[in-house]
């Protein structure tokens, strides 16, 4: 199956071609572009999906490959080369299937959401989607950290582009800028980390014998030496891991850089589904999974990942409790769910984390698309208190949305139940095995389960149940087919996708039914170096994360009961014909939650109160000392220039004279050196 490598290279290139078509044809001959570029995008993502599935099946047959496609900067002077390549292994194959699949559905949904509603700027919109899909696929297939960084930035750029689709309104324009700047802030750490990795290991490759995780492991074992700049290797690797984690936290909207994601909901809802739920936000945690061979060596970073994840899961869930707009609830739930993925990865549960990434991508894309259909029916009014009773008016959307909500709340047997409990179970076993901080993260995650059940069903009941609470809701009609079909497909998937890894039933059904675990951990004959099958030993042996046996079934039952408690409370409060807000029980906390713990205010204060005075001080230094030196050099040069060019008198005999004098000086130098005098 040698030619699959070539085909894989085409996976990102095809949507890129769709991007060019939408951009160029849309600019020069918009009339020639059917549906504003949607058809080209659909065709391209369908091709990518087919190729991705092919790659997926090839990997399933034991054909993981790593190929260098292109040397960007060759190695010279004992330095290292910068290359671009394609790494196809179970993780990346799974990711490209998710990305191209969700992207295809979102393109189809956009026909209903954007085209049928007569929105403007369609070529721009579809060009953005195409470029985003291409970048995200190229990111997923990246074979080294540099390439990953390049496409990491590109997806961030596309996010800015698409959030700001309605750029003439102040909200989207400002949200786009905020999203870009906040994620960029995290990316600076990633960039520094990338330079550190290159400087330390001379390579940024993810996989293979000479990859940097392999070198780092060898260095810790004392079998190889790398340039750690005089620092103890373990400390240095922890530093690098934390720096890279900065980019992850920004992109995956983890505390404290999560504030951009709720604002990003100003973008078109299909964009929220594709970028701000299923894929781009996943880029951060995907990077952690991609670098797992490296993170597994650094217990400190793993603990930080678990803590950040657990805290974010709880923190974001509390803010979701009181939100009025349907997309805001979903935004905070997205942040919270990515917290779970981080918790899973941080506690050594590589498979659990990736599993939750898979299921979350499915059900959250579903929920956003369902919310999009509701928003269209409500004529862009997102306030849930004006909805109600939509169940009868849009049944397909309702049932699919319900399936997604059950998955999100973690109710058996829907997708989220299996994956979330895999995460929590893993965190519990490691936490009890002597990692109190991970145990703390687990407890936060467990509390968040109750909140998740509550806010999810508060949303379902307010939106679909009871009596319509406004004229618009009374007149709402069913969604168009373009919207219903993707929602229905995802609705079915959200119900069943969890069955690929029925982790809580591990003791009951036997290992062979844990398809995802076997898939991810299977031996890879095509790849040398540490692969997923070694991650567990690394986490245990190097990071020292020991586990105690806790029955997965017990852990699952605990979290199921907690989730049901949350659902039950939502049921009693909101599944009534005339629900009321009930937020008064929270007392003063309510205001705090409405204002998102005043984080935006705090960050603004940080910028204006702390950073700005500091910047002013630096500016004074820059203007006086640095500029002084620079201006000194430059004015010296200019004065020298004016003098020096007078040497060129225009009279040719002075040239010959100076030439001969120069020659004589050279002769004297050489003959002096040669010992003539």
């Amino acid at each position: 199956m040698a030619d699959v490598t070539t085909a894989v290279t085409a996976i990102p290139l095809v949507p890129f071609a769709a991007f060019l078509v939408a951009l160029l044809v849309g600019h020069y001959k918009p009339a020639a572009l059917p549906k504003g570029g949607a058809l080209a995008g659909i065709a391209a993502t369908a091709v990518s999906l087919a190729l991705s599935v092919w790659a997926f099946l090839t990997v399933g047959a034991g054909g993981a490959t790593l190929s260098r496609v292109w040397t960007w900067v060759p190695a010279a002077n004992d330095s290292f080369a910068l290359t671009f390549g394609v790494l196809v292994d179970p993780l990346s194959a799974l990711m490209v299937v998710i990305v191209s699949g969700v992207s295809l559905l979102v393109h189809v949904f956009s026909l209903g959401y954007m085209n049928d509603e007569g929105e403007g700027g369609l070529p721009r919109y579809y060009a953005g989607l195409g470029l985003f899909t291409a970048s995200m696929l190229a990111f997923a297939l990246a074979s080294n950290l540099l390439q990953a960084f390049v496409f990491f930035e590109l997806v961030g750029f596309c996010s800015w582009w698409l959030i700001g689709h309605w750029f003439r309104e102040p909200g989207p324009a400002s949200a786009a800028k905020k999203a870009f700047l906040v994620t960029r802030f995290g990316d600076y750490f990633l960039l520094v980390g990338l330079v550190g990795v290159l400087g330390t290991f001379g390579t940024a490759a993810f996989a293979g014998d000479a990859s940097f995780p392999a070198l780092a492991h060898a260095a810790l074992e004392g079998e190889a030496s790398v340039n750690t700049f005089g620092v103890d290797p373990a400390t240095w690797f922890t530093t690098l891991g934390l720096l890279i984690l900065g980019g992850v936290i920004g992109k995956s909207a983890q505390f404290p850089l999560q504030t951009w994601l709720p604002d990003a909901m100003e973008g078109p809802t299909p964009v929220s589904a594709l970028i701000h739920a299923a894929t781009m936000v996943a880029a951060g945690v995907y990077l952690v999974a991609r670098l797992y061979g490296f993170y597994a060596l650094t217990p400190t970073v793993l603990t930080v990942i678990a803590l950040v994840g657990g805290f974010t899961a709880l923190f974001a869930a509390t803010m979701a409790l009181v939100k009025r707009e349907i997309k805001q609830v979903l935004a905070y739930s997205t942040i919270s769910q990515y917290g779970y993925i981080m918790l899973g990865l941080g506690s050594g549960g590589y498979v659990a984390g990736v599993f939750h990434l898979l299921t979350h991508a499915t059900f959250k894309a579903l929920l956003f698309l369902g919310a999009g259909a509701v928003i269209i029916a409500m004529h862009h009014d997102e306030d849930m208190w004006k909805m109600g009773g939509l169940k009868e008016r849009m049944p397909t959307v309702y049932w699919a949305f319900l399936s997604g909500s059950l998955a999100l709340a973690g109710i058996v047997p829907f997708a989220g139940f299996w994956s979330k409990d895999a995460v929590l179970h893993h965190a519990l076993t490691v936490g009890l095995g002597g990692q109190p901080l991970v145990l703390l993260a687990y407890l936060m995650g467990l509390v968040a389960v109750a909140f998740t059940g509550f806010y999810t069903f508060r949303m379902v009941f307010l939106t679909f149940h009871g009596e319509p609470r406004s004229e618009t809701a009374r007149d709402a009609g069913p969604a168009s087919a373009n919207m219903r079909v993707p929602v229905a497909i995802l609705g079915v998937l959200a119900a069943v996708v969890g069955l690929v890894n029925v982790d809580p039933l591990k003791g009951v059904v036997g290992e062979h039914l844990l398809f995802l675990e076997r898939w991810l951990n299977g031996p890879l004959p095509g790849l040398a170096g540490p692969t997923a099958e070694h991650y567990h030993e690394l986490v245990v042996d190097v990071a020292g994360f020991h586990t105690v046996a806790v029955s997965p079934t017990v852990s699952a039952v605990v979290s199921l009961v907690v989730a049901l408690a949350g659902v039950a409370l939502a049921w009693t409060w909101y599944n009534v014909p005339e629900p009321s807000e009930k937020t008064d029980v929270l007392g003063p906390t309510k205001t705090l939650l409405y204002n998102n713990y005043y984080q935006d205010e705090f960050q603004t204060w940080l910028a204006t109160g702390v950073v700005e005075p500091l910047a002013d001080a630096v500016d004074v230094f820059d203007a006086s000392v640095v500029d002084g030196v620079v201006n000194g050099v430059s004015s010296t040069s200019l004065v020298a220039s004016d003098r020096l060019r007078r040497v060129q008198t225009g009279v040719v005999t002075t040239y010959t004279t100076q030439l001969v004098l120069g020659l004589v000086v050279l002769l004297l130098i050489v003959l002096l050196l040669g010992g003539w005098f």
Partner: protein, 100 residues
């Protein structure tokens, strides 16, 4: 047989006279003649060394030098003519419109 050093000193003298002419004379044709003198100083070394080492290559090189000198004069006189047409003079220090 005259030692090689004498030829070298002789040629160095010729070369320096040529350099002096190049630096001191402003007439383009005299300038060309001074350059000829420098080239011929080299020819003296070539021929003398050729005899000294008993190889023929130096003499061949001196033939090349002469041919080159002729070609250079041909191009040079052409350029001097162009300059004369523009500046009505063949003083090489005359054109100074481009400087600094």
């Amino acid at each position: 047989m005259v030692p090689l050093q004498y030829y070298l000193l002789f040629s160095a003298a010729m070369f320096c006279i040529g350099v002096f002419g190049v630096l001191a004379r402003r007439n383009a044709l005299v300038y060309l003649m001074s350059v000829e003198l420098m080239l011929n100083a080299a020819n003296v070394v070539f021929v003398a060394s050729s005899a000294h080492y008993g190889t023929i290559s130096g003499q061949v090189f001196s033939l090349f030098t002469m041919a080159l000198a002729a070609a250079e004069v041909a191009v040079g006189v052409g350029i001097v003519l162009v300059a004369y047409r523009n500046f009505k003079d063949i003083d090489i220090t005359n054109p100074t419109s481009m400087r600094w």
